[in-house]
Symmetry: D2
Subunit: 372 residues, 4 copies
């Protein structure tokens, strides 16, 4: 099925398996004329790259990105941008004993029942390696959003029962701790927790929070392309995610209206703002100019070295212990994936929004200087 | 923007404002040959219909649905099904003093900043009245899914701090209590809570849970059309929803892998099953044959009669008390909206899945009897 | 299948059968703030309306359009525009003897083999009555394009062997002759030809030509959304069309490059223009600022009163003479269908084009006055 | 804009510029389990490859295709198939003097007005080199269609005024003559014509005809996804195409209904067939089981060595003579492009068609053996 694409005006298509020769993507519909280099993208990929601390998988991928189209003389041309990353450190042999069994918590069984065939090496298409492509493409989108004055603060908000202390939040620590907690104490606690999990052949879940600032009011389309619906879909499409909340998320269900409504007021510059931001910047699917706040929950890595009960392809029971190189907690590396996916969704919505008013369309076509 | 449609093979387009003459929808791509009557749909609309208890808005809509196309001699024909519902009990005058101000917690401000114009009567397009169309179309999808052996159990799981007691869950109470809690005690407690909210001019939030049983393994498409991503988008597109979780949802973030993985085993009939269902029936975006479990959080109704701070269109402050006929809690009436939206998403995924294997395509074209 | 919609940012969905109670459509993504009344649309529907001369079907439909959503206080709101037309003059009995046989040249056999069921009354969904919805929606698009300085000249270019004499082309005769030839002599000749066909129970084909002026250069997207590809699809989706050509169309295949290339020059106002317009205003799928020229060929009406060979549903032979009220030539009434379909495609392309340059996106978001 | 993709269930996305390092594509939604090798694809690419005779450009591309994803152990897996072809024989210097001027008949001016930037080397994205990707992906689709019993006969039908003599049509000559005329005399005449064009620095247009046999009745979706509309869009999206016709195409406009209708009869095997095939196998957008016949007109190559009038980017006049390596007639190499594009469209329509009947959906889900 054609499910490897998403977006409307800006559309991403990804391809590639964990243990194939390469993974890549095509980002189509990106506006022409923005400066773009491989280095701009590499910065983001390096935030996702494994093997950087003892907390992540020891698979060592250089994850060097190549731009094969859509950029000419250092600028985007409006044509599809093809990004390709070589797979260089596959240990496919590690997976040969998984060819005939279904790993609990993984997509193996689903792929097999759906397609009758699967590339079992490293999870094949279901591997989180696919998210490298999301990061590469999202880096392009985020670069442009930054030029529009929009900023992103994404970080680890929870790992197991270690939770970010909002008072300790230190923006200078974004992407600066092994766990990606922007809080030294939480980072230390979570590091200990993950190390303990690893030692006892277990894994642990957590939550990523994202805050996007500087988004103008009026972005997002009503009904089925609501910005929160598009963001929710994007977050839930990331490997191992199980829940997503906007603003106060699940806590909104425990509140009264008098507590939850965000009052409007006009600030000294004459800008309409909200006193609080329970809504997370989105009302009725449209931004209100407040920070967009989004939380995504990730389950514990299903690949654990402890023995587990499962079955073979033919249904016979098997006791399974998964060896190989796995992150004991996916959250730290998922932060940049969430961030760049949100960038793709947001830029698409902002492009769509440009045609919302007849007046703007008229200004565009009647008042521009000439045909060129 | 063309955001009033969703779905792939099965595609729903809705239209209409709260205080326009009618609301309606077009369901395209529905397979031909299923028996369908207006009564089949009315049963679902009646579950959503307001004015049925003291807990809901006193707006009295008969919500009678008309089928204007796509059905011939009692059967679907494969052509688009047009469903229309008259708006009969608008009190537009109630809203005239809202024309120039932005209600906190509502989409007013977003629509105004986006479009520069809005139908302020009853929320216009942003009104939850739009969900009547979702229910009507989803009823058609759910009828067919039931013929495929799939069953739906959707209910209120929480209202404020009143939470369903899993041990008290009584399937015979589905859609049989005013709050839609399938648990007499929770229903009584929540009724008291909602009445109290109403008395003090406040509102309260809550959660809807849905369980879908009988779905075959292998449904859902990897990457961006994962079934959980599509469901999350659908739930987050419903008015007032703020969070969605699959299976254990946010609790998965607090767990260890050894607790969270669902072990596979083969049952006495030779069917591969899971011992537990933390995953909520979906792994890697594809069903595993277990029950699909989905939870959606709704914020408290933003329309409250208590005084609130807000601003006028021109930015001048205004003290606002919203009168009119509003549900003090949207959760009871949202249950059937969640249910039918899930039906639309699931049927679409099941149709998409039919082409996943070359072998099935060959069987379809090479082994059917004749051209007719 | 979800084939009843087309367009990207601007998206039309139509519904309804020839002999159902109503036909209608939903036009989504139309920009907010344009003045729109039912009268604006009715003007176009009246150009398509049957029963206006002896040359067309005597079915008498008033074809009055109702706007049920998307317009508030006389202006579009950016939400989906629902347009509905009642069917008032069905003679379904005329069709009862067609229930069990396949009319040659019609879609009956296709619908039956595909769906196993069909609404045989008046062709059901396959009736050209569906084009009333295209005209209604296209009228909305064309109104806006006119406000952008774009003009449409669509007319009958050929009926049978009667061909428009370019020298006799009189723009004041657009939609002013029974045949829609903008040429008195051709109109008279074609009228005689159609009357003769009618008298001998036959029908005749022809061609519609359209010229769209004032379109800026740069409209249309490369590769698969080329403007000519989108126009070709739109034209070929109209009932009875069998060929479409851009600019010189099929004659381009008989030419040399030195004849066919349109030389560029700069006019006295400094605008880059072409000396000739063999290309019909589109190169590489993108407009060059010249007139868009498009020709669509229609086959003769397949419903003829002369006896024809066909078969029943069960395959037994049947001699068929089709009675009922049919246009002996579809071309005159197809002119406005072609015109309005082109308007829908062109407006969609112009909306898409607004995001082509990063510079324009920046101007939009960084230099607009405020959030409102 | 996201215009580099097309298709619904089966969706192709292409990327790459003529003088970039590579061109490639992603074919998503292809069913799992079909055997596929690079050799299967190479056969088709070799039919398109330039430099094979004196009639085509002397650019020498080996056009070796790499499969980078979506195939495992020799079979498709249902995941996106990434195909990449290296560009090895660019002579970018040939184009440096074209950087600042607009070639007549080319997309240069359109790209420049749209994007404000363009890769001028060899036409960049607008180069027909992009069609190599279409052929590669279409080869995959056609392989599967052949397994379903469908056959393709595509050939040159006209070059300039040299027209195929239907009586001389020899299927054994398909892809066996330099001009791709399946008729020795026409091939010889056209060869002489092309050589003469080349000698006098000119080019010539022509027509490709395609016949697809063995397609079951019932394929194609009504209204806007009619099979003929989808085919027309696909053909018109090919570089240099200017017209497309189904069946008798433009000739249908010159006919009477009594001549043009194809009578139905039942053959000795009980299959309903048509006596003639003026309709080209498609009625109302749905196949009737007859051969699909489609004709596509190509203009003469716009790159000619004769002097032409044009302007520079700044509007100043320039006398241009285009040197470089160009096909004096695009038709011979366009044949396989048309063929494989039709294969992509047809397979997509056949996949979509599998869900048209509720009965078939029920059979699929209720009567298959088990979950696996």
């Amino acid at each position: 099925m054609a499910g490897s694409s998403f977006g409307n005006i800006l559309r991403l298509t990804t391809w590639g398996e964990s243990h194939g020769p390469k993974v890549g993507c095509v980002l189509d519909g990106f506006p022409a004329g923005m400066e773009l280099s491989e280095e701009d993208i590499q910065v983001y990929l390096d935030k996702r790259r494994p093997g950087q601390s003892s907390l992540t998988t020891q698979r060592r991928e250089s994850d060097l990105v190549h731009i094969y189209s859509g950029v000419f003389e250092g600028k985007t041309t409006g044509t599809p941008i093809s990004l390709v990353i070589d797979n260089t450190d596959q240990h496919s042999k590690d997976y040969s004993d998984l060819a005939d069994c279904f790993r609990p918590g993984h997509a193996d069984f689903g792929y097999y029942t759906k397609y009758g065939i699967r590339d079992y090496r490293g999870g094949g298409r279901a591997s989180a390696r696919e998210t490298a492509c999301r990061v590469a493409a999202g880096a392009v989108a985020e670069k442009f959003l930054k030029e529009l004055g929009i900023t992103f603060s994404f970080y680890t908000a929870a790992i197991g029962e270690v939770v970010l202390d909002p008072k300790a939040y230190d923006p200078s620590l974004l992407y600066a701790t092994p766990t990606n907690f922007p809080d030294k104490k939480a980072d230390a606690d979570a590091t200990a927790l993950i190390e303990a999990c690893k030692a006892r052949k277990d894994s642990v879940g957590g939550m990523v929070r994202g805050v996007i600032s500087g988004v103008p009011a009026g972005i997002g389309d009503p009904t089925y392309l609501r910005l929160d619906a598009c963001l929710a879909s994007a977050m839930m499409s990331i490997n191992a995610s199980k829940a997503v909340g906007i603003g106060d998320g699940v806590f909104a269900g425990m509140r009264y209206g008098s507590q939850n409504n965000d009052a409007f007021y006009t600030d000294e510059d004459g800008v309409i703002r909200t006193r609080t931001n329970h809504a997370g910047g989105i009302l009725g699917g449209i931004t209100d100019g407040s920070d967009i706040v989004i939380s995504t929950t990730f389950k514990p890595t299903p690949s654990i070295a402890s023995p587990q009960e499962t079955v073979m392809t033919d249904g016979t029971p098997k006791a399974l212990s998964i060896h190989g190189r796995h992150d004991p907690c996916v959250v730290p590396r998922a932060v940049v994936v969430c961030e760049t996916m949100c960038a793709l969704v947001l830029l698409d919505a902002m492009l769509l929004n440009m045609t919302a008013r007849a007046e703007n369309v008229k200004n565009f076509y009647l008042h521009r200087d000439s045909t060129i």
